[in-house]
């Protein structure tokens, strides 16, 4: 498994959306998208954001753990997520998101693709928080 940085600027429609909790730009860089593929190590199902941790193996067998921020549980539940069921420790996932400004292994997650191909949003588009 590997992770790859997507260099291309990702422009999403409607990035002036309101924020669930804080300004996207306060902590994340909308021009630095990242795709993380690995194994779920931990899920913190808490307000005001969930965090899940993904172990990413490199070619030499080393492991880097990424921390991914997502919506609060209430917003995830309304989009089809279930605590302890949708994402479990050990699941293989591919996460798309944007890099944190202060932590090189943290990202704001936008969506998660699971091993069965199911894809769910897990966080807001880049640039949210203007309202």
């Amino acid at each position: 498994m590997k992770f790859a940085c997507v260099i291309a600027l990702s422009l999403l429609a409607g990035t002036a959306a309101v924020s669930a909790h804080h300004s996207f730009a306060a902590e994340y860089e909308g021009d630095k998208p990242v795709t993380i593929t690995g194994t779920v190590a931990k899920v913190d199902w808490h307000n005001p954001h969930i965090y899940f941790y993904v172990d990413v193996k490199d070619a030499k067998g080393g492991v880097t753990q990424w921390k991914v921020e997502g919506y609060p549980p209430n917003m995830l539940v309304r989009q089809g997520w279930k605590k302890d069921e949708t994402m479990k420790v050990g699941d293989t996932v591919k996460v798309f998101g944007w890099r944190a400004r202060a932590n090189p292994t943290q990202a704001a997650g936008r969506d998660v693709t699971f091993a069965d191909g199911k894809k769910l949003n897990c966080g807001p588009p880049a640039g949210t928080g203007g309202q």
Partner: protein, 265 residues
Amino acid sequence: MKRVLASFVAIGIALLAGSAIAQTQKPTLKPVPRTADGKPDLSGVWVGGGFALLFGDAELEAIKQYDAAAGRKPLPPPEPPPYKPEAEKKRQEFLARKGIDDPMARCLLSGVPRITVRPLPFEIIQQPHRVVIIYEVHHGFRFIPTDGRGHPDDMEPSYLGDSIGRWEGDTLVVEVTGFNTNTWLVGVGTFHSEKLRVTERYTRDTHDTIIYEATMEDPEVLTKPWKQYATLRLRPGERIREYECIENNEDIQRFEKLLQTDFNK
């Protein structure tokens, strides 16, 4: 309804306009419900912002189809806040710091009108003598008497202020005052003084929608009244859930570190 509609949430318009999902079902248009005294009944669970965060493409398309079937007009983009020069300078400083000073990010209760457009629902309970609004976000609540009483004479500055309501035809008009200065109006850096007064107008223009108009007046920092609009959308089958923001708010600590960095580089 001749009024030209506008919205806080340009996101909704942008996404609705750009959507290209095939329509599968023609929307059903029901009449606006009314209470026994003939007033439009605003009761129900509503959401006023963040539609792109809450809804999938299919639901956004259904909203678009509903608005078209109901003859609702598209909403123009919001106007920038009319700050006095010194106040605008301060707002720009907040913007340059990328919203890191946002009270909301520290789990403080959002004020009026911002709480209306947070992407979590709220329930309106309309009674003959008052309207109650329960917000999922921060467990916020407002009691809005509509029996003719005025503001109390012992108000303390507060996040949601003190509200009194009255009916003007089919529109609920709410006067809000008594705010503290710990909230932003709507948008990054939109601070205000304790002289803030907000006039809200709730008009249920269709069964599934309320036109929400908020006029903000603050002679301390604004040059003129600032008017903003939003569409509130009915959420049938939805319920208000618990939302305890401070539970695991790591942002507070991370902000302290980020504040040591140069935000303009």
